[in-house]
């Protein structure tokens, strides 16, 4: 049973004493702020929330909150979070990471997490670069992004996470921008409240290795259309999406996957079941 908080819950309730080491101006600061605001709006107690992450700048988030946290290995946040939520369904489980962690090494887990539709909220801070390792192209990097590490660009078509999430069965799909912390907080509240697998892509500039992304604030715009629960309509919208439409794209109605709780067993009983 979820414990009721005894004192007023504010965003400060969810901030740990550990100061983030991100670069000044990093979009991840506002995502952290948005998460703490969202949790305060939902009036959750920190001990009833778990934040699971992989590896990368944005994956440092669990340590900056007072919630339970698990800073796992590269690309493996989603399976860890899935196991946690299935074992402890009463917890609110948030998964956080970047585009490299989530779409490259973690890409397979992303597909299946959407498909399984366990009640998780996955927040990907997409800066279209591997920031922690100093500027390599990621799956969402534009094919013509010229850099010292990829002269003249990779030439590879970029990964489209919202398309993949929709095709794989995610139950809530949205995009936001780190330059709008309060709007992002409201979206996170919606995503957590929506049952099933909720996916939020946050356009979160890397001011060190992609300083041109400061210009994103001139490019982003509210989506011109309302959210839909029709996957086909959502798919058609994505055909003309330039990656800067913000808001909720799709809200599905699939029942979340949550296996029935197994009856309690003593270790000796479990051993007998595995005996050859």
């Amino acid at each position: 049973m979820t414990a009721m908080p005894a004192v007023a819950i504010t965003p400060q309730t969810f901030k740990s004493d550990v100061k983030p080491v991100w670069c000044p101006g990093c979009g991840d600061y506002t995502v952290l702020s948005a998460i703490t605001k969202a949790l305060a709006m939902l009036e959750l107690a920190p001990e009833n929330v778990a934040i699971v992450s992989g590896i990368g700048c944005s994956s440092r988030i669990p340590a900056y909150t007072t919630c339970y946290g698990f800073h796992g290995v590269h690309g493996r946040a989603l399976p860890a979070a899935t196991g946690l939520k299935v074992a402890r369904p009463e917890l609110t489980v948030i998964v956080a990471g970047g585009d490299g962690d989530g779409y490259s090494i973690g890409g397979n887990h992303f597909l299946h997490a959407c498909r399984r539709n366990v009640d998780l909220t996955y927040i990907v801070m997409d800066n279209r670069v591997y920031g922690m390792t100093k500027g390599q192209p990621s799956p969402t990097t534009e094919p013509d992004w010229d850099s010292k590490l990829a002269p003249e660009g990779t030439g590879l078509r970029e990964f489209h996470p919202l398309v993949i999430a929709l095709a794989s069965g995610a139950n809530f799909i949205a995009r936001t921008f780190s330059g709008d912390p309060n709007g992002t907080a409201k979206l996170i509240v919606q995503a957590i409240r929506n049952p099933g697998f909720s996916f939020i892509e946050v356009l979160s500039p890397c001011v060190t290795f992609r300083p041109e992304q400061r210009g994103w604030k001139q490019l982003v715009r509210p989506s011109p259309v309302e959210p839909t629960d029709d996957p086909a309509r959502a798919a058609r919208r994505l055909m003309t999406d330039d990656g800067f439409n913000l808001g909720v794209l799709y809200v599905g109605n699939r029942k979340p996957y949550q296996p029935a709780k197994a009856p309690s067993a003593k270790p000796a009983d479990l051993e007998r079941e595995f005996a050859l």
């Binding site: 504010t10 983030p20 080491v21 991100w22 101006g25 010292k148 330059g179 709008d180 309060n182 400061r214």
Partner: protein, 159 residues
């Protein structure tokens, strides 16, 4: 006035956040400046509480967005740079105060109850005073040179 309080509080919290970021980046001069700005905005918030006779701070009031995605007097994270100078920090503060003055002047011109228009006009006057202070402050700090963001040891090791 609840909106005005929420605006000042959000501004104070954001400047405090900026100060933390600058401390981590070892830009102590600008960190101290942001800390001072956070203190000033916090004082404005407390003045509103005292003026209104509120024993407890109003909770759950989100500052309005004005001329952008942030609150009226709230600085944007994207404007920070680890090598920024005090001039840049004060330029952010000046923009915020000018935006706040424009916002309250706009509210004072709307078709609203007289008491609300009067309060907005008063706030607009106070924000214009803040603009004046910040301009005086900017005049006292050195103007950064054209190479202020040159880093002899840049982050990208592949240069």
């Amino acid at each position: 006035m609840k909106q005005a309080y929420a605006m000042e509080l959000e501004a104070a919290e954001r400047y405090a956040d900026f100060a933390d970021q600058m401390e981590i980046a070892n830009n102590r001069e600008v960190a101290q400046l942001f800390r001072k700005l956070a203190g000033i905005e916090g004082k404005h918030a407390r003045q509103i509480l005292a003026q209104m006779g509120w024993k407890r701070a109003p909770l759950g009031v989100q500052p309005l967005r004005w001329e952008g995605l942030e609150g009226v007097e709230t600085g944007e994270h994207l404007e920070l740079h680890y090598l920024m100078k005090p001039f840049h920090a004060l330029s952010i503060a000046l923009k915020n105060e000018e935006r706040a003055a424009r916002f309250f002047a706009h509210v004072a011109r709307q078709d609203l109850p007289g008491a609300v228009r009067d309060a907005a006009a008063e706030m607009a006057g106070e924000e214009r005073e803040h603009v004046r202070w910040v301009k005086q402050w900017i005049a006292r700090v050195p103007q950064p040179g054209t190479d202020w963001d040159r880093d002899p040891d840049p982050p990208n090791v592949n240069d």
